[in-house]
């Protein structure tokens, strides 16, 4: 998040504390999805967070390694009561798994998606893919980290909020196209101008024209003939 120091290049994975509230939230989310996808009779819960890192990728992508074990609650238990479920005692420890969860959190939408779930028995060495949850929209995360950083900074600088994730994604795409246009302008610039992110960077050319420009001026040749200005003095 913007209030946390980032180490390394913008967008590269950064290790975060296992007690970080955002990580705990992501773990809780992953745990719920894990249980929804599992046909086990009992609710399973994360017993320990082994490591956690975050990466800025069109939001924040958390990679979290956890230990997960069976509780005594059956799956019919109310979701709100899951936190109170006790783990099975020692003889059942062999059912403990180590799982890698990747959770994609979109802060401007308060929306999360479980991207990846790889689990293996705690005693085994070979990871076994249990399930792969598809992306919400089936889109690859191919936008460059640099672009996402630029977009995030743009949103902060110009205080932008969007009404939905779809709107945010649309604006990100427009922003990306505008950055390409700005780069083209820059590469062909014959003066000393710098082009790039402005407060209009999330608007299409048409939107920009409609909101801020003046279509009547294109009819300037139709304007009334005005009196010509008196030439300037020779002094």
């Amino acid at each position: 998040g913007p209030d946390r120091p980032v180490v390394g290049a913008p967008g590269s994975p950064v290790r975060v504390s296992e007690s970080d509230p955002a990580v705990l939230k992501a773990v809780k989310f992953a745990e719920e999805r894990y249980n929804m996808g599992s046909n086990a009779m009992h609710v399973r819960r994360v017993s320990k967070i082994l490591s956690a890192s975050e990466q800025l990728v069109k939001g924040v992508r958390y990679s979290i390694m956890v230990e997960i074990g069976s509780t005594q609650c059956k799956k019919s238990v109310a979701l709100s009561a899951v936190d109170t479920c006790e783990f099975f005692p020692e003889p059942h420890k062999q059912k403990t798994e180590v799982c890698l969860f990747e959770v994609w959190d979109i802060p401007w939408e308060s929306k999360s998606t479980l991207l990846k779930q790889k689990c293996q028995p705690a005693v085994s060495k070979e990871p076994k893919k249990v399930a792969a949850v598809p992306l919400t929209h089936g889109k690859p995360l191919k936008e460059s980290v640099e672009l996402l950083t630029q977009f995030k900074n743009f949103m902060i600088t110009y205080n932008r909020t969007y009404s939905s994730q779809e709107e945010a994604e649309k604006r990100l795409h427009i922003f990306q196209e505008n950055m390409k246009t700005a780069q083209t302008l820059q590469s062909l610039e014959q003066g000393s101008a710098e082009y790039g992110v402005t407060k209009f960077s999330d608007l299409t050319e048409d939107e920009f024209r409609m909101m801020y420009l003046n279509p009547m001026l294109s009819q300037w040749s139709l304007q009334k003939n005005m009196k010509l200005a008196t030439p300037t003095s020779k002094v």
Binding site: T181, S192, P215, L217
Partner: protein, 213 residues
């Protein structure tokens, strides 16, 4: 004309304003020009009302756009302009609330300037800031410096934004127009756009005009 001139150095230009999401650039261009002309006549810099034009200039289309030539005519017919304070900008069309009793500046006519940029510069240096218009495509992406986009990005026949020429000069050997814009101070260089001068770029020479006090 002098090699360079900037009316900001002479107290003739009011602070940069913000038209918001409204195509009222024509009103800002014209009031900026009249602020300069009024200063030249009286020595007093007033910030004049654009909202009066948005609401009361029936020749133009308020936030839908307008022509400076119409605006001069409307101001003459109305009897003048109120101050920014008396008739504040809201960025959308309202019913006309113009009051002749609050008029602080008037004009007696308007003139069209020649298309030659040297002559425009000479006129500006002698008479004050000039209402102008240009193709604003590159302006969406402009951050700073003297802008000289390729002509294909800046068709001089597709003029779509009105501005105010307040000065001219050279920066590191690049001749420029100093252009007061109306997109707030967080646009460009403290609200100003600098455009290459001397090749009729973006049609900047095509619609230069001024009110006469």
């Amino acid at each position: 004309a002098p090699d360079s001139w900037d009316w900001r150095d002479h107290g003739v230009v009011s602070p940069v304003k913000n038209q918001g999401m409204c195509g009222s650039c024509w009103a800002f261009s014209v009031t900026g020009n009249i602020e300069g002309q009024w200063f030249k006549k009286t020595g007093q810099l007033l910030s004049l009302s654009e909202q009066e034009l948005v609401d009361c200039d029936k020749l133009d289309q308020a936030c839908g756009g307008g022509l400076p030539s119409n605006a001069y005519e409307a101001i003459e017919k109305l009897g003048g302009l109120e101050t920014e304070t008396d008739y504040s900008y809201t960025g959308h069309k309202q019913s006309c609330e113009f009051s002749t009793g609050k008029v602080v500046a008037y004009i007696n006519g308007s003139v069209e300037l020649p298309n030659d940029e040297n002559q425009i510069a000479a006129w500006l240096a002698e008479n004050g800031p000039v209402s102008a218009a240009l193709n604003a495509f590159a302006m969406q992406f402009y951050r700073k410096g003297v802008s000289h986009p390729l002509k294909i990005f800046c068709n001089p026949w597709m003029i779509d934004h009105a501005v105010l020429l307040v000065g001219y000069g050279e920066r590191n050997g690049i001749p420029f127009w100093a252009i007061k814009n109306s997109w707030g101070e967080d646009y460009g260089e403290q609200g100003y756009y600098y455009l290459y001068r001397g090749s009729r770029l973006c049609g900047i020479n095509k619609m230069c005009s001024s009110a006469i006090v």
